[in-house]
Amino acid sequence: MRDDRACDPELLARLRQGDEEAFSELYAAYRARLFTFLLRLGGRRDLAEDLCQELWLRLAARPPVLQQDMPLGPWLYRVARNLYISYLRSREYDENRTAELTAIQFLSSLQPDPLEELSGNEMQHCLQAALAQLPLPYRECLLLVSGAGLTAQQAADVLDLPAPTFRKRLSRAREMLAKWMRLG
């Protein structure tokens, strides 16, 4: 991640030793970022909340053993993304047919940015709308790199994609988003 947390290994070690404060510190550090990721991925606050709970329960039940100097962020994003994919599979979710509905729910679930309201700038709103229309494989690439701040390699690892494939997909995602924003 671009804002790597040097304290992650130490916090994880404390977590494995049963330190409750370590859990609370991690929760405070990553809660909003993971919730935002899940919200942008699925477009529903209730779903993002449920998946968040599941994610943090997993961390509490079994803290991961990560290699030295490996940040916790990518692991958390991987679990979050896998939980969302599992949800889609369990519901036999058809993204294409419900894309429009998702976009509507997505927009209604996002709180307006006060600065955006003050300045009257619709750019952010336009961005969110275009993001909601992006197919999942492209949306998740963009959210991991541009939204969550993972490096391209970390994001490719999260998605289990070869780095060149990931870069192509990311480039295509940016292109599609830019196009939809211009149309919007």
């Binding site: 809660r31 919730f35 968040c52 509490a60 940015d113 939204g147 292109e175």
Partner: protein, 88 residues
């Protein structure tokens, strides 16, 4: 010129996405989730209690030893009696 504009927009997408305000759980939901997870965390810390199956297994093994031992003694006794009768 239009292409230049397009490239500019694509370049700015990362900046726009990164600058979008983070959303967060409702405070009540955030507290509830933390409490649930901490409870789970405490359960994980406790040493595992012997399960019911384990206790039943121990009971069964004890009974088997006791009954098996008795059965062995019973048969040994019988064999001695039979041998004794046979000697007479």
């Amino acid at each position: 010129m239009a292409e230049d504009d397009d490239r500019l927009t694509e370049r700015h997408i990362d900046v726009l996405l990164a600058s979008t305000q983070l959303q967060d759980l409702d405070p009540a939901a955030a507290k509830r989730i933390e409490a649930v997870c901490l409870a789970q965390f405490r359960r994980r810390r406790r040493p595992p209690l012997p399960s019911r199956a384990f206790l039943v297994g121990v009971l069964e093994a004890t009974l088997a030893v006791l009954l098996g031992g008795s059965y062995l003694l019973w048969n040994l006794g019988r064999a001695l009696v039979i041998y004794g009768v046979h000697l007479r």
